[in-house]
Subunit: 155 residues, 2 copies
């Protein structure tokens, strides 16, 4: 009976922990979205795409982008379309495969991204400032274990 109660409590604790993770994520995302919007008329999804592209000079295929960002293919199409309209990104043909294209940052996109990324890092530093070096370490390993489990289960 003690055993049952303990198990049940743990399950409730996990639910509470999940709700808290969700709350933190939503609050920080809301704050970052608002700052991005007022500072550069930028959205988080567009910033995320630019961040992914910024790490590879040769650019990425649409399918790579949706894989890295974990969003659907069709979603990436729309976001990239808008970035192209704004001149921050361009689609280049892939030699030898007429289905695919490589998406790359334009020079303007690179300049804007570098500026945004620096400020974005300071914002995150500020918003997570209640957590020190030790807290970050334990957070990282705990969350890492959940991610590992999810990735091995789902692929």
């Amino acid at each position: 009976m003690d055993q049952d109660v303990a198990v049940s409590d743990l399950s409730k604790d996990r639910l509470r922990a999940w709700l808290r993770i969700l709350k933190v994520t939503r609050m920080i995302e809301a704050e970052l979205r608002e700052r991005m919007r007022t500072s550069w008329d930028m959205t988080l999804p567009r910033f995320d795409v630019m961040a992914a592209l910024s790490r590879v000079s040769e650019g990425m295929k649409m399918s790579d982008l949706s894989g890295v960002l974990r969003v659907s293919n069709g979603n990436v199409t729309g976001i990239v379309d808008r970035l192209v309209t704004d001149g921050l990104v361009e689609r280049r043909a892939v030699e030898g495969d007429r289905r695919a294209n490589r998406v790359v940052l334009t020079p303007e996109g690179r300049v804007l991204f570098d500026e945004m990324a620096a400020v974005h890092e300071r914002w995150v530093d500020e918003l997570l400032s209640p957590i020190g070096a030790q807290g970050l370490e334990t957070l990282r390993t705990r969350l890492g274990r959940i991610i590992d489990r999810l990735e091995e289960t789902n692929g």
Copy 2:
């Protein structure tokens, strides 16, 4: 100079921690959304509204809902509209204030929610199972500090 490097590293560590929080949240949400969809043709936003309503038998005003769930007023309007269409929720007049309505679970909504909530709790327990009692505790306090900070800053 040592000082500068240390500060800079901490900032990068916070950024990495934030990206990891984001990744965990997205992965778990994707998993829960998929299971909700296939099991009951239910969405997470609708489930969230029902969960909020389930905690108060007298129901909640639309503005209370958007406050608790931290989403915009207009958003709640649409979600509640769909729940009403499905017969899971209903709008009732508030005596003495013709502006407001109280949104309440219907009996059907209550039955369905109780069923979903029990399974949902087991799913979360499973998905967070890599974290034990002690991990939950430290996670709770660390994230709690961030939330407190954000709430005192923004209101």
